[in-house]
Point group: C2
Chain length 144, copies 2
DNA sequence: TATTGTTATACTCTATAACTATA
DNA sequence: TATAGTTATAGAGTATAACAATA
């Protein structure tokens, strides 16, 4: 009964691991071609979705808040992001992409040809199925 | 005509970025709970598929071969892997999981409950669809 | 008192270059 | 000559602990 995983859960986990390896490997190479480390590229990717406080950025990137100081320092030194004072809470600093930062973030994604071509091989129906499946697996928050 | 990406390729890339971010975040936390860094956990995950030469390990992990020395050193010191002399080419060292290493690799995967529960929410047909889609996007090698 | 961001510290990861032992 | 693995080095990432400013 109950919560025993179905027979091929292990297979799917393995396939996810392989897929992530392909995707992340291409991401690292893409960031490197803009002279950015994986963490710096990841920060730009996250900030592309909108400004974020240092703390929030740390949580999204699954690392300690103290690390973000150095990562943002280096991105700021290169003119890719800037720190803005928080509106209500004066302790908070919001990190915002500059125009150049947006350009670089876009360039990183554009360079991920293998992944994009993989998606382009799917027809419209399959692309919609993939979207639905990913949302259900990774983005649904079961009431708990 | 031709190679222009379909309208929602950008959406799917963003969704992949979010989904794999969730997966990777859970992986990092899972490895940390076994007192392993992301790279060490990744190495165990790769070796779980079978022994690999130092060089091959570096390629799979998308890093320079010189890094693997230190990573394997630390895993070996903890008894999770061992170096074996190559059969034909005496320059080669194959890295092999120990029994304890296998146990830890399994524990890392088993601890990824959020992802597993996400997969468990799918019925058999959807799970098969997801497998097919991931294989087509990430693991197919267009003749080129 | 609790929280945000920073700093100091020690360890790990990373690429580059130079080395050795094989091939 | 070329390749597999190692070592040395410098810069970056990482968690922990302690701190100042603010809430």
């Amino acid at each position: 009964m109950t919560e025993a995983p179905r027979a091929d859960t292990a297979q799917l986990m393995e396939l996810l691991s392989l897929s992530l390896g392909v995707y992340y490997g291409e991401f690292i190479a893409s960031a490197a071609s803009e002279n950015l480390t994986a963490s710096q590229g990841k920060a730009l990717t996250v900030l592309r979705r909108g400004p974020a406080a240092m703390r929030a950025l740390a949580e999204t990137m699954t690392c300690d808040a103290s690390n973000i100081t150095g990562i943002v320092d280096r991105l700021e030194k290169r003119g890719l992001v800037r720190r803005e004072a928080g509106a209500s809470d004066r302790r908070v600093k919001n990190v915002v992409l500059t125009a150049e930062g947006e350009r670089v973030a876009d360039a990183i994604r554009a360079r991920m040809r293998t992944t994009q071509e993989g998606l382009d091989r799917l027809d419209d129906e399959d692309r919609d199925r993939l979207r639905s499946l990913l949302e259900r697996v990774f983005l649904s928050h079961p009431t708990a």
